[in-house]
């Protein structure tokens, strides 16, 4: 992933110079903390590449790229409270290191910081359009997260409902990230829409892959407990497909098992057997590849450039990840 380094370095250095205020300390320190615990910065990099493939200097989109990263980290801060997650990327979650109130308020403020970043965009950029795409994406992220939380209490979740959920929770932001790049570049509506399709497909592929890696990945490399989603009784791609394909008897058993979280080791083994029996892992691989392919096809429609090549490389890199 050497090709990603220049983009990642640019985002890191811009995040370093964000200059969040010192005071109130309890408001801004948790934001610095979660931002320093760097992830892959995929979303802001998508913004840079979206801008690049439209032929504009990638610096044009930096404020929006930072906004996207701030927004993403705000959702992590609040999601960790809702999911009662103790840690994030190996460090204590904000609500654990501080407390729930601090994590709620710092998250809210981080959301505000994201919007404040947008004000730094050049005046020749269509601010209202940018703002609409940005706000629409976070609206869909909230809806996706709500659906995901509703799934917990439901025994019946269809594949369609699952796709609707990840379209919000995961794809809305990857889609917006690329679109913002196009808008910053001052490109056409059509191109912006095509960037949106790339981001959407990438998001769906990425999430199906995440569900898949839960059972196929080397747990240590993946950084999560093997079959952790099954232990937690999550309605993943694999689970909702199994629920649609299995016999009524198996379904009754499965629905009962999913209610008693965390599942026992034996139950988890039995679930994996059902995954095998109904070939849902193959379906997941197939679907993941389908969505990655869709993204690649859409990238192909753009003019050749180094940015286009790097966007293709990024897709390949994501597709081939085993963690």
């Amino acid at each position: 992933m050497n090709f990603l380094k220049p983009y990642a370095s640019l985002i890191e250095s811009e995040l370093q110079s964000l200059d969040l205020p010192e005071s109130p300390f309890s408001l801004y320190e948790p934001q610095r903390y979660i931002l320093q615990n760097s992830g892959k910065r995929i979303r802001p990099i998508l913004s840079l590449l979206g801008c690049g493939v439209c032929g504009a200097p990638i610096e044009k989109v930096i404020p929006a790229a930072l906004a996207v990263e701030l927004l993403h980290n705000f959702t992590l801060m609040h999601d960790d409270i809702m999911d009662q997650a103790e840690s994030r990327r190996g460090l204590p979650a904000v609500h654990v290191k501080w407390d729930v109130s601090t994590a709620i308020l710092s998250g809210d403020s981080m959301f505000v910081q994201a919007f404040l970043q947008l004000h730094k965009l050049d005046n020749d950029i269509d601010f209202k359009w940018m703002h609409e795409v940005f706000t629409d994406s976070i609206n869909r992220v909230c809806e996706g997260q709500a659906l995901d939380m509703e799934f917990e209490g439901k025994t019946e979740v269809s594949v369609d409902e699952y796709l609707k959920m990840i379209s919000g929770k995961t794809s809305a932001l990857t889609s917006a990230s690329l679109k913002l790049g196009g808008i910053a570049a001052g490109t056409s509506k059509d191109k912006v829409n095509r960037l949106g399709i790339i981001g959407h497909s990438l998001g769906v592929a990425f999430q199906i892959q995440d569900d898949l890696l839960d059972v196929t990945a080397d747990a240590e490399k993946f950084g999560k407990r093997s079959a952790g989603d099954i232990y937690e009784g999550k309605k993943t791609f694999l689970m909702v497909h199994t629920l649609e394909r299995c016999t009524l008897q198996e379904k009754n058993w499965l629905q009962e098992a999913l209610k008693n979280r965390p599942l026992s080791d034996n139950s988890v083994k039995a679930v994996i057997k059902l995954f095998d029996k109904y070939g849902v892992i193959e379906t997941a691989i197939e679907q993941m590849e389908h969505y990655y392919k869709e993204a690649e096809n859409e990238v192909e429609t753009f003019d050749d450039s180094n940015y286009k090549a790097d966007l293709m490389n990024l897709i390949k890199f994501l597709k081939n990840r085993d963690y």
Copy 2:
């Protein structure tokens, strides 16, 4: 307060037709719930009046007025979690009726709905300016809330720190409410700034009055427990002034008492005695009147109109409230 009715009715009917989506139910139902439990709608009414005193039809600012009310209710939803408040205007708080996760996410979504409202503004309105004022205000609200939470753990809070806190927590939004009215009316920077001053003064006056009513109001009418702020050991206007004026011995006692929350009946009585001894109630009345007067003086600089008269009436109404 008959003069307020037409404005309040307009806001109510617009809120009724907000048309929040039905699904996800867990995301939007809490928002409908908190919005129906209507408050005084002072902030959106300020937006209408801000627009009116600048000579434009008040309908121009409706989307921003709704945005302000949504934003205010979002802060209430999250504040109630942070303050562990069980109820709000006589009904269970959202995090009590549902749960903390639902209240966090519905609040986040309500914040998003506020921004979405801004997209409905007419195209001849300076969207970026509107957005800057709006976002800046919620940024300051977050900072104010953080300071307020920090005060809880501090034994020493100066009058200046207190004023900084309420400038954010209370005044930022009343100030923005009026400014948004001016911006929607397409008025000058100078007039918008003057509207901001009115809103700021009103917010400070309103908050000092709230602190005052805690000890002077008829508890039943006020809807809060008499001296509730003292029982909770809050650093109110009265408290920070007392801490600055009392003897070292009294201060030591007071700081110790404030650590053991809730305070005992005897401690509360002793605190009220200190308020009397150091004349802080008189100071509060004086300061409250000073800020209301400042607001009135600034309103005077606008051209005469029914809206100006109503804004004056609103200030008088607020000043004379005893609950």
